[in-house]
Symmetry: C3
Subunit: 142 residues, 3 copies
């Protein structure tokens, strides 16, 4: 291999290192938003659902990923007796991913049977919220 | 074109794909912050304005872009009868961009005539807050 | 230098521009979270400390950097008479960085002698929170 080849190959390898960054930047452009619910206030729960709906209405359901994470004092939003249970079901029908924090459930002796049907679970709601941001999702705390 | 040319051109095209990522990373370094106001509490409105002022004082007005977005129960901050109307005007004089959510206005039958003069408008405040983060702005909810 | 050399060098220089972006993307993958405390509510202070602990438990203390910034009405969390003073000390022992806003202290005539021992200080808490996000940290407002 002569010097010309060597230079081109070095350039090629440097460029390939940079490619994941380009892909990450592209991924960041997608409309993705994680909505935090950590208050025990049903008005906040309704606001969170309104916010999700407004984003879908403005951008089109197909053009945005929305994940709602309830933890701590906000977990009540996703319990069977939640005042906004019907609206949570509607949001899930509209493609919003709804997730409850298992740590909060354990600490408060709440079982999955006490929770709304069809919701998702993560071990730690806070970690989910952190990692979504690291994956380029926007954050919203209504 | 021989193999040497081909290699160099491949490298060139890969590098050019990566360039927008490099520019995006540079853009992320700028001081830009979107401040969310979604509470109906005038103390929160004052805190949001204090926060904007502190950022400008610490970094210099010319070195930071600040956008304040009021929506939902926070819209009252930008109504004509707002308790902090004078301070909102001051903030705008200091270069803070102040924006109201038209969805909230429609839902509450509030017209632009009911709002403080010279503020800006977006269709959905939540979408503005999401997109600013996707453009690399920091998020603050006072 | 002939055309082949020139092409390879151009590719090389473009790739080197893109490299910092690749490194920044790697840095973003680390688990780093800045937790904002700006409410005067001791329940919120306890929730912030619970959140920090849950992140450390779920990911392992060594695998996450946590910074808690108290400012405005949240500064009381870090005063000598704070109801959660013992838990703040525990969190610091566990590696959580705890920081108070000097602007808030000045505005409220609070001296460092009035504050919990061993905590850190920044001039403007809001600027710290903004800059951490610009460095790729996730944001949490419990």
């Amino acid at each position: 291999m002569n010097r010309r080849h060597a230079l081109a190959l070095v350039a090629l390898s440097l460029a390939s290192i940079a490619l994941p960054a380009a892909r990450a930047a592209d991924a960041d452009k997608k409309n993705r938003i994680v909505i935090q619910v950590s208050d025990s206030d049903p008005k906040k729960w309704a606001l969170a659902l309104n916010n999700a709906k407004n984003v879908q209405t403005d951008l089109g359901k197909a053009n945005v990923e929305i994940e709602l994470v309830a933890y701590g004092p906000g977990l009540g939003m996703l319990k069977m007796d939640s005042e906004v249970g019907n609206r949570v079901a509607e949001a899930m029908n509209d493609g919003v991913k709804v997730i409850a924090c298992e740590n909060t459930m354990t600490n408060n002796k709440i079982a999955k049977e006490d929770m709304l049907p069809k919701i998702g679970y993560v071990k730690a709601g806070v970690v989910e919220i952190m990692q979504r941001q690291q994956q380029g999702w926007a954050y919203l705390r209504p």
